[in-house]
């Protein structure tokens, strides 16, 4: 899921694309297998999504009578009402609290750490910290979930949103530091130095120089972490118990269990809980692009 980071495309890659306009045709000619696969796969990606959306607008009676892929003749919003009646707003707010509460601090402290690692190059401690974060990339969350559970119990945080937030922050740090560090490293050293000459503190340089210059990377890292935390399942599953503390993915599983064979209601709950991410992604993409130009147009 490092996708967002790659797919946003670094500025270097974009210029490279522009330099070679001619290759496209050549590759396209030879690659009819890939071409047809590309379209077939697109259909495979779209079909389940299409199905879940149209099903969410069918009545339960209608669902069993009509062709699965036929859109409903009389779309209904009843299923969405059913989902809303089942406390989905609360789960939604829980997810918002957890996602914001974990993503924002994680990105801010990762950014500070990345800045320190770049600015303090040669410092023994910072090198050690950097290596530790790199090692951290290899630790799967599943493998350490038992001690995390123990720590959360001992901190008396079990069954609270904070219990999900704290480990989420920790596990967002390694990759965020790696990406931000690589980005800050590309900022010309002279800019830092001249600001330093002008009497700015490192803290000031961090926020007034490094922050605006690394905005595209910050947006990318924020989106990536936000997504991972929003969709997180294991931490809420293990660290919470009561229905009031559920986040969306966990609530979704419980809700669908409750709905049984009311497939339109299941479809509505999946659609409703997914919609905000798709909308945010659509908005984030645009901001991502403007971030790119803002950061490098100077």
């Amino acid at each position: 899921m490092t996708t967002t980071i790659n797919a946003t495309g670094t500025p270097t890659r974009q210029t490279q694309q522009r330099e070679r306009p001619s290759r496209g045709k050549k590759l396209l000619k030879m690659n009819w297998i890939g071409g047809s696969l590309g379209w077939i796969w697109l259909v495979i990606v779209i079909v389940p999504l299409y199905w879940i959306v149209i099903t969410s607008f069918k009545t339960q009676a209608n669902y069993f009578l009509t062709n699965s892929f036929e859109p409903p003749s009389h779309p209904t919003l009843d299923n969405y009402q059913t989902v809303l009646d089942n406390d989905i707003i609360r789960y939604f707010l829980n997810s918002v609290v957890v996602t914001l509460g974990a993503t924002v601090p994680a990105v801010v402290i990762s950014f500070m750490a990345a800045f320190a690692i770049v600015r303090g190059v040669g410092n023994r401690w910072l090198r050690w910290i950097n290596n530790m974060f790199l090692t951290g990339l290899a630790i799967p969350l599943q493998a350490v979930i038992i001690p995390i559970y123990l720590i959360i119990i001992r901190l008396k945080l079990y069954d609270s949103l904070l219990a999900i937030i704290l480990p989420s922050i920790a596990f967002a740090i390694p990759l965020s530091v790696l990406v931000l560090r690589n980005f800050i490293r590309d900022v010309p050293r002279e800019l830092f130095e001249s600001m330093h000459m002008d009497g700015a503190t490192e803290w000031g340089i961090l926020w007034r120089l490094a922050f605006p210059l690394t905005r595209p990377a910050l947006v990318t890292v924020t989106i990536y972490n936000g997504l991972a935390i929003w969709n997180g399942f294991l931490l809420p599953l293990v660290l919470t118990q009561s229905p009031e503390q559920r986040t969306i993915p966990l609530a979704l599983v419980n809700l669908t269990g409750q709905f049984g064979v009311n497939f339109p209601a299941i479809a509505a709950s999946v659609t409703l809980t997914t919609l905000p991410i798709v909308v945010l992604y659509a908005l984030g993409r645009r901001q991502l692009l403007s971030g790119l130009t803002a950061g490098f147009g100077k």
Partner: protein
């Protein structure tokens, strides 16, 4: 996420002048958070594997009891087998398709942005939502098989071991092929055009170009993508938990799920910690093997991305 190979710690370029020293404290918040909820738990899981704990009461040190318990359980080799089964089959399915689609996307000009946006959608959804969608979609009584009146779709997909494994692999591919295709797309765009032009003058066909230029040129990307696939497959949890919960029987009970069941269902935290250690070791081992295969042991695996 956790699916990354540990890149070699080559550190940064070494600057002739040392860096500023007044910045070290800025790394402290991240360091403390990561120590508390990342590194301490890693040490903790090792320590817990030498104890007996039911998840609620007191923790008793018990030497090798938990390890003996974990290793004697026939579910452990079985779940290892299932894990490798998922890993190998999903790699075999995903890699060729991802490469072909990636090459296609790299060359394709019109609608490419539009296509990339659609390819992205599966990556936005939670594994829980994806599992629930497919579970409903292939339901033998109320799914599309019934709705379309196609009898071969009406099978009990999640009730038979072979079929359940097939469905799992399919969903994994559905979720991740677009991602890997986009990695390959980026890699193919980096190949110098001159290589294709030169080979064309020499009379190479498209197929020949694909095998003699494209594939060798994206070798490191294949290693990177494979590392992400292989190491990532070790941590499939949400998907299996929601889709089959390891069933039917124990046909899809992979290592991470086995650990969860042992620890949080059977309340055997000691043996579950031992399984967690095995999970970490298998992951590190695989990452190392793939890195050696790449023949660039000293450089970052992330480079190909």
């Amino acid at each position: 996420m956790t699916a990354l190979a540990p890149p070699a710690a080559t550190g940064g370029r070494i600057h002739p002048r040392g860096g500023r020293s007044g910045v070290t404290w800025m790394a402290l918040p991240a360091l403390l958070m990561f120590l508390a909820f990342g590194l301490v738990p890693l040490v903790g899981v090792l320590l817990l594997s030498f104890t007996t704990w039911d998840g609620i009461g007191q923790i008793h040190p018990s030497g090798l009891t938990s390890w003996r318990n974990a290793l004697a359980d026939p579910e452990l080799p079985h779940s290892l087998f299932v894990t490798f089964e998922i890993m190998i089959i999903s790699w075999l399915v995903q890699t060729p398709i991802s490469i072909l689609i990636g090459v296609f996307l790299a060359a394709f000009k019109r609608y490419r942005g539009f296509l990339a946006v659609l390819y992205f959608i599966p990556l936005l959804l939670s594994s829980a939502a994806i599992s629930l969608t497919f579970k409903a979609l292939i339901d033998p009584n109320f799914g599309i098989g019934e709705g379309l009146g196609i009898s071969w779709l009406k099978q009990n997909w999640l009730g038979q071991p072979r079929l359940a494994m097939g469905v799992l692999i399919f969903i994994v591919s559905w979720q991740y092929i677009p991602f890997h295709a986009l990695i390959y797309q980026g890699a193919v765009r980096q190949i110098p055009t001159q290589l294709y032009e030169a080979s064309k003058i020499d009379g190479a066909t498209g197929l020949r170009q694909f095998f003699s230029i494209t594939l060798p040129q994206i070798k490191y990307t294949i290693i990177t993508s494979s590392t992400l696939m292989v190491v990532g497959s070790l941590t499939f949890f949400d998907l299996i938990y929601v889709l089959t919960n390891g069933g039917p029987g124990d046909a899809t009970r992979a290592l991470a799920l086995e650990m969860y069941k042992k620890g949080f269902m059977a309340n055997l935290m000691g043996p579950a910690s031992a399984i967690a250690i095995i999970l970490v070791l298998v992951g590190l081992l695989l990452a190392q093997v793939l890195r050696r295969l790449g023949g660039r042991g000293d450089e970052s695996q992330l480079e190909g991305m």
